[in-house]
């Protein structure tokens, strides 16, 4: 089930505290900024990662300094009345990106848009500045929308640890933290397409 709480504040708090806990127990003390804008319809919930005044989270890796960037947009729907009134968060956009500290452009971006884009490309896709050989042509991955499934932040963190050699918080079993979080995402929080 999606994150469903009696109040929007509580739903936002559950999302923020859960993901901040996962990040802190695995690869970063950066924190998620989660805010709601209620006086627009439907209420918008914005999520981004920040470390002090810097955007994103600084990471060390086997390949040098990296920055993990995350934005997520949710909408809130309301059901029921009175004491049975519930607020449910639905993800309508996510974007996870990794860039080298000394460059502006991410070398990889995983993105999702709930609404079918005008260009009709895959709503879940991965992009980056790499060149892909397509038949006799070299094509930038930024010009394509390579399909993916629903990508979770847990999987991106796993990629950072296992493939990029980002060090983990030694006080916790990162694999167990990610497994538990993923299980929560799949069972307590949300079916695919909702958070």
């Amino acid at each position: 089930m999606p994150i469903e709480e009696r109040s929007l504040e509580r739903a936002i708090g559950v999302l923020r505290d859960h993901l901040n806990g996962v990040l802190a127990r695995t690869i970063s003390q950066a924190r998620l900024i989660v805010f709601a804008v209620r006086d627009i319809d439907p209420p918008q919930i914005g999520v981004h990662l920040r470390e002090g005044t810097a955007i994103g989270a600084q990471l060390r890796s086997s390949y040098g300094g990296l920055r993990l960037l995350l934005t997520q947009r949710c909408i809130s729907t309301v059901a029921g009345r009175g004491r049975r009134r519930t607020h449910t968060l639905h993800t309508v956009h996510y974007r996870y990106a990794l860039r080298a500290e000394d460059t502006d452009e991410p070398f990889i971006r995983w993105e999702y848009e709930r609404d079918r884009p005008e260009g009709q490309w895959c709503r879940h896709h991965v992009q980056g500045p790499q060149t892909l050989r397509v038949a006799a042509s070299d094509v930038s991955l930024n010009d394509l929308h390579l399909p993916t499934g629903w990508v979770t932040i847990e999987e991106v963190i796993r990629f950072c640890i296992v493939d990029l050699g980002v060090p983990t918080n030694p006080a916790h079993d990162w694999d167990a933290v990610l497994e538990d979080s993923y299980r929560t995402f799949r069972t307590d929080f949300a079916p695919i397409g909702e958070v």
Binding site: I33, V37, R38, I40, Q44, T53, R95
Partner: protein, 70 residues
């Protein structure tokens, strides 16, 4: 991130912004990139904002406003 006024920082920390505050945030982020509010919205619609951390965050905040306007 541009330096934010205390009122906006507090609203972000508390997790609740008004539409007017979101517009103010967009305006400050645009200004930090040398753009006006209107110029940033136009650039975002055309996919022409800089591919930097701030440019991406600005685009994201504009999308929140644009979705609301749609």
């Amino acid at each position: 991130m541009p330096e934010l006024p205390e009122e906006l920082k507090q609203a972000l920390d508390e997790g609740s912004l008004t539409r007017e505050q979101l517009e103010k945030l967009v305006g400050l982020e645009a200004q930090a990139l040398g753009l006006s509010f209107e110029g940033a919205v136009e650039a975002a619609r055309a996919g022409k904002l800089p591919v930097t951390d701030l440019g991406t965050l600005l685009e994201f905040h504009i999308e929140m406003l644009e979705t609301a306007a749609a």
